[in-house]
Assembly symmetry: C2
Homo-oligomer: 185 residues x 2
DNA sequence: CTATCATGTAAACATGCGTTTACTTACGGC
DNA sequence: GCCGTAAGTAAACGCATGTTTACATGATAG
């Protein structure tokens, strides 16, 4: 048994991300997390202070928008749709947006975290592309579509059999394009 | 204390809908439900067999699409958007779609229920309006937008301050219109 | 080599959960 | 009016949870 506090911490955080992502906060037990990390449950309290703090520390997120500077102005929506679509394509079990979408359903802190992401990251992107005029409204509209796509795929389990990826990227890309740049009433 | 089995059953079902809606399945306890209904927790088992069965019975849902027969073909999307928007406007605490959206995040059965709604009700509506060709794809696209709107409002708590209702109805209506009737790639 | 302290463990603790059991109470037919 | 039965209750059960405590162990400085 090799002993390395920092490595153990990270094993716990990684295991936590994976399980929170798959099952949400309530259904994931500290014993599950510890077993997945191969250590003793008590270490969660030693290193993080408790389950809540582990969640707060394990789940922080960056949407990682692609660089849009070289993209045709009328293809930005499609590029963003493709970005999110492929990001969730793989079954990487520690995608943090997935964690939040699942967890926010019953956890106010997670919901606040997503709102912050919208306010900060999406609005910044919209401002950068379309200017600051009504940027927040546009960001919220875009968020409804992106979150709906994420929810359908991650929570409901809709797959490429239900909507072909090309169709989804093209149509949802068109929607984002409208929300970004079309005139608002 | 007046005794009426059927009334008690309904009090339990109503209380369950409200609490499941507010907190999701895991966070809602049978003791909470019984207290809200003003009866003994054991009656949940007597009348429904258990918490799971109570959930299954209390949460069945009808999307109640508006009658679209008299609506201009190019205003159908907007009509649908307005329908869903106003439906969730009020704070009625027993809206069943809200229950499902919250609960599906950590409960496979609820997720299956929403998929069934999509398959049955939304696809039927699409078929009726736009014909059966690729109706399921169109239904899934519409679902991503509707669910995203519902999620943003009910789970994240986005309000009319974030996006003005007129803007949301117009823009999201336009999206549904495209998903319903525009050529798919 | 050994003393020491961070690291890890096992077991118990306190609590809250869904459910079951044994019991009490009010209603309706006779 | 009585009594059988449906309706309702109180209390306990068994289990799983997050957390704490007391103890064991391995790396490392002197």
């Amino acid at each position: 048994m090799t002993r390395d506090a920092q490595a153990t911490r990270e094993r716990l955080a990684t295991a936590a991300r994976m399980l929170f992502s798959r099952q949400g906060f309530e259904r994931t037990t500290v014993r599950d997390i510890a077993a997945e990390a191969g250590v003793n449950p008590a270490l969660i309290n030693r290193y993080f202070g408790g389950k809540e703090q582990l969640f707060a520390e394990a789940v922080s997120i960056d949407l990682e928008f692609p660089d849009l500077s070289g993209v045709d102005r009328d293809r930005i929506g499609r590029t963003l749709a493709a970005h999110f679509f492929t990001r969730w394509e793989g079954n990487d079990d520690d995608d943090l947006l997935r964690v939040l979408i699942r967890t926010a359903a019953t956890n106010g802190e997670a919901a606040a975290r997503i709102r912050a992401i919208l306010t900060d990251q999406v609005t910044a992107m919209v401002t950068h592309v379309a200017g600051s005029d009504r940027a927040r409204e546009r960001a919220c509209l875009i968020a409804t579509q992106i979150l709906g796509l994420a929810y359908a795929r991650n929570v409901l389990g809709l797959s490429n059999e239900d909507v072909a990826p090309e169709t989804a990227v093209a149509m949802i890309g068109g929607t984002i394009q409208r929300y970004l740049l079309a005139d608002l009433p």
